[in-house]
Symmetry: C2
Subunit: 247 residues, 2 copies
Amino acid sequence: MTEIPDDHPRAASLRTRHRIEDGVEKGITSKQGLIAEGRGEAFDYLLGERTLPSADDAERAAAAQLLLADHAVLSVNGNVAALVPGEMVELAEATGADVEVNLFNRTDERMDAIADHLRDHGADEVKGLAADARIPGLDHERAKVDADGIGDADVVLVPLEDGDRAAALAEMGKTEIVVDLNPMSRSPRAAAIPVIDNVVRAIPRMTEHARDLAGASDDELERIVAEFDAEEALAAAERAIRTGGDE
Amino acid sequence: MTEIPDDHPRAASLRTRHRIEDGVEKGITSKQGLIAEGRGEAFDYLLGERTLPSADDAERAAAAQLLLADHAVLSVNGNVAALVPGEMVELAEATGADVEVNLFNRTDERMDAIADHLRDHGADEVKGLAADARIPGLDHERAKVDADGIGDADVVLVPLEDGDRAAALAEMGKTEIVVDLNPMSRSPRAAAIPVIDNVVRAIPRMTEHARDLAGASDDELERIVAEFDAEEALAAAERAIRTGGDE
């Protein structure tokens, strides 16, 4: 990663790809994860590889929502662990959230590799290994969560989540924040707060917003959440992809 | 692959992904190939997973160009071998073209695995293993071609080709046909005939056109090639992606 000069026009994109490839070597990223990374690259290319103003609004609303939560949990899958392990730990610290590993293709080896990777990046406690609760309406392996983690959470951040699980979590009544680069896909459409942005840009920005809002009153945080318009944010992102314009 | 019912709404897309994943098991598809498959999926999704009329025109012009060639060569990389091995062999037979393996990340193991895979799908002769000629202007490993293959060809079909190599082949004066799902990327823009379509749809259609044109005169074939407008085909595909419309 240090071989890519900062002034390379595609430095950020190349660093992202290297992190994903390193994730394969470490047993963190799956084949499906590599294909998903490619899909994300294409949508990010069409978005201009930038954070739209509407996405920044979503990131601020997400930070406010995490700060308001009684029990917030940040869900980590293989690509999230490969791309933003330290950034997720920082966001958890800035918002008082738990971190829980949840995989679409769950194996004990990948669960352990990801939990170790998060601990290497500063996580004190990593949930997801107990798997003593279930999300209703999903296949056995995909339904597994921790009873004192996502099972108990009122607010969940699920970056790069599968559509079925995003819908099932929303149906459980959890307030859901989804990060995804395709505004037409089901996951962000199931979310209370859809963040249409690259996870490598979105997570650090959420942390910045959370630090900025650390002293804010609940009233102010609630106002920020209430003013965020999910439908309009999705529409703005789709317009940006379709027209290539500035929303 | 037989587990996916034909009436499944995403049957074609799922079969494609299974072929790519099988390619990984066989040592044919690389990590980069999986990411590239994901990028292609995203662009194909935005195109509506269909062959645009302008793409069908390109496929007919490509067939005519292959039939007109003194020496046509079909280049095969890891994803092409995983996705359309038998289809490439059929196109070679229908046009009298050679088949040559060319990899972006060349290793002897992958070269052999791909050559074997093509032979399993009916190829008599597979070029690319001699590697006794070079494409000027490329890194050592990426420059390797066969002297009596791409080195000697006047017309080359390079599906899913890297931008640098597509540009270098065009600079050698070869008439280049590129299949790619992103009309904004450099490879199709370097091509005499850019085919903006999924390789799983494009290659069988080229073969159909070649069979249909088998009895055509050189004058007729030349007219078909001359009437194809590469700039307009690229613009039509970009409009379809951006607006979601029917070109």
